[in-house]
Symmetry: C2
Subunit: 411 residues, 2 copies
């Protein structure tokens, strides 16, 4: 990959390198929302850039509360904007140099949900996670269900409760069935958990009754975010048979604010795990479809120091995004720009790479100790969970920033 | 209830009586979408009515592709519009009489989805349906799962594939596991089914972290529609463990175009079934919360006569809408104007009141015979399914019209 250098001061370890240039929605103090591209510690204000006629898109498209309209212009336009901005940041004689007001310090802004999310789907595509859950909740000898290696299992989640990084989440209350009890009780969840996931955001509408093949899937993926699928294990356990998770999940999911484009991640493609048995023809794919994205979860108690509790990687996924999208639409289900499709918890083989407290504490049986000496099996009130992720190769870094959320006590 | 008489010619058996006045979105030939109220065989064009200053709302609100903005004005406004229109249709000296262009024949319009649907939730609230399914798929002796009488079980569905009555649905293809097979096969669903449901449409936004009590639930319900939750039983059976229905459901759901307000249904409230064991405090409710709405499903083969295959009633529901909404939000899950919450299949005790072919044909073992002599266990290509519903009491009728859909062959 060709080395690129910007005239702008970009910290060497920044997630938002000249190779990344992710899209997001921000607002300055008391200002309106607008679209931007992250670069180092700054944001390129795309509305201002368009007003200055440095890119060939109507400023109107960037003066919105979401990126949906911009994404709807199609990859030809969105990729050109990204490459034009890259050019403006590289060019030593860039007209952008004379317009410092277009570069906004990230420290001065508030970030917002980047898209209006029409539908949200959550997959269950890590074989290590599905196996761990199967061992704990079902049969250790037959941990994976019979359909798991044939289907990228997924289910519909709640779009309304997806929030941007930094939004606090209140501990949910609900029905639980305590061990050995004969009737359910009502109380705040005692087994509140995170799930380390990534989500992709769709970039094109389809018509009901049509399908997307694995070969064309990338055309329908705008980009990716970090995704924390907060889960209340005790509520989930009592409610989920037979129709799946509901209140155990829909009290909140958090996403990182910057959408890293699938094009920026192209250099980090790697082969996925071998799929055995062979999948049905509509799920076959060509080339490398996994992505080497290093992921980390940190837990920070109130007024305490954060501590890494998981180091995982997006490349572990058994089912890749092309297969997920092909499966999701094989029955004719339509998609809209701004749908979110999350991966499911991303766990690796090693205990240190497990993507949820459920697995890390093995169902609550193995507490972990934090730097302040306190222990955790699940998330306590006022704990903050921070997920980070980046791809890196040959000195080139493309990162996601972080998704962060603090759990507030139940009312 | 006071008898009301309109100067307009309304067929005596019309679903859209002077007591009903449901809201919908229509367009005339080559015209733009606008909001209307159904009355007899006509539609009151609300944009035209507002332009003529016969109601006190900006015409802009009615010149939209959905009712969301109108509903967002709040019940004080939406109920007033409905009652003002009722007054204009009763008053012998009504200024509406001199403006016939405001009354559009229903035969001249196309109907559209009435709302932009943010999230769609499907409940599972008929004890007869849940018991029938449990008997067929699990244990006939313990058909109801342990959580069923404690929780209004629900799950998230796909909003993007909800279509308005009249939209054809293509038979979905997908993975199935044939009986005694060792590997799944890929083919069109052979067990395509309808589900007779009703759905309510929410009328108010809430904030994440807040809940709606059963007492205030009605304030959050704008109105109801008929809902056909098309289901591919063979796809569903193979995929649904452990995370619930996905491709077996999300290839399409059909709704009736007219939203009958909860206020119009008030006279038809009745007591629901006794709930035993007693429910947790947050699910307790006061007064009658079920609705006596007669429901019917007809099946019409291509070029054939339609035949009633089910006669059910919304009053059979074990869990009512107030309980569903209270449960859905007890964990802080937020709702938006235009969310759809469907009841789940509405079956009664009697075989003639079963709300799906799965139950009517008892898992495919008891075919029914149609008027043309053909038999059905599930829905065949080019069959049309029509659902109708109305409430009637003391000679007063409030109906839903119909939701209709034809199954097209798979590609």
């Amino acid at each position: 990959m060709k080395k690129l250098t910007s005239w702008l001061d970009i910290p060497a370890d920044s997630d938002f390198s000249i190779y990344n240039l992710p899209f997001g929605i921000f607002s300055k103090k008391k200002g309106k929302t607008r679209a931007g591209i992250a670069i180092g510690n700054h944001i390129v204000d795309l509305a201002a850039l368009a007003e200055a006629e440095l890119i060939d898109v109507s400023p109107f498209v960037f003066r919105q509360s979401t990126l949906n309209e911009f994404i709807g212009l199609g990859k030809e336009v969105t990729n050109k904007v990204r490459l034009d901005v890259q050019g403006l940041l590289i060019d030593a004689d860039s007209p952008l140099k004379k317009k410092p007001e277009i570069l906004v310090p990230q420290a001065d802004v508030q970030m917002h949900l980047p898209v209006h999310i029409g539908d949200y789907t959550d997959f269950y595509s890590s074989i290590e996670h599905a196996t761990n859950v199967g061992k704990m909740f079902r049969d250790p000898e037959n941990a994976l269900l019979p359909n798991w290696r044939h289907i990228p299992v997924g289910y519909h989640g709640r779009a309304s409760s997806i929030v941007v990084s930094g939004t606090p989440i209140k501990r949910p209350k609900g029905q639980l069935m305590p061990k050995d009890a004969t009737a359910p009780v009502f109380k705040p969840s005692g087994r509140l958990d995170f799930e380390l996931e990534m989500g992709f955001i769709t970039g094109k509408n389809t018509q009901l009754g049509t399908s997307i093949g694995t070969k064309e899937a990338e055309d329908y993926i705008f980009g990716l975010v970090l995704f924390n699928d907060w889960s209340a294990r005790d509520i989930q356990k009592w409610e989920y048979v037979p129709l799946g998770p509901f209140l155990g999940k829909n009290f909140g999911s958090s996403i990182s604010p910057w959408i890293v484009t699938i094009e920026a991640l192209e250099p980090f493609k790697v082969a996925g795990p071998k799929q055995d048995p062979e999948v049905l023809p509509y799920l076959k794919y060509e080339g490398n479809q996994n992505y080497d994205v290093q992921l980390e979860v940190a837990l920070q108690p109130e007024n305490g120091e954060e501590q890494t509790v998981s180091s995982s990687n997006f490349k572990y996924m058994y089912w890749n995004m092309a297969q997920q999208l092909a499966h999701h639409t094989i029955n004719g289900c339509n998609i809209h720009i701004g749908d979110v499709m999350a991966s499911g918890t991303i766990s690796g083989k090693d205990e240190s790479s497990y993507g949820s407290m459920l697995e890390i504490s093995w169902g609550g049986s193995k507490p972990i100790t934090l730097k302040d000496g306190s222990t955790r099996t699940f998330i306590e009130d006022n704990d903050t969970v921070i997920m980070r992720g980046f791809a890196e190769k040959d000195g080139i870094k493309v990162g996601f920033g972080e998704v962060r959320g603090t759990i507030l006590p139940a009312d």
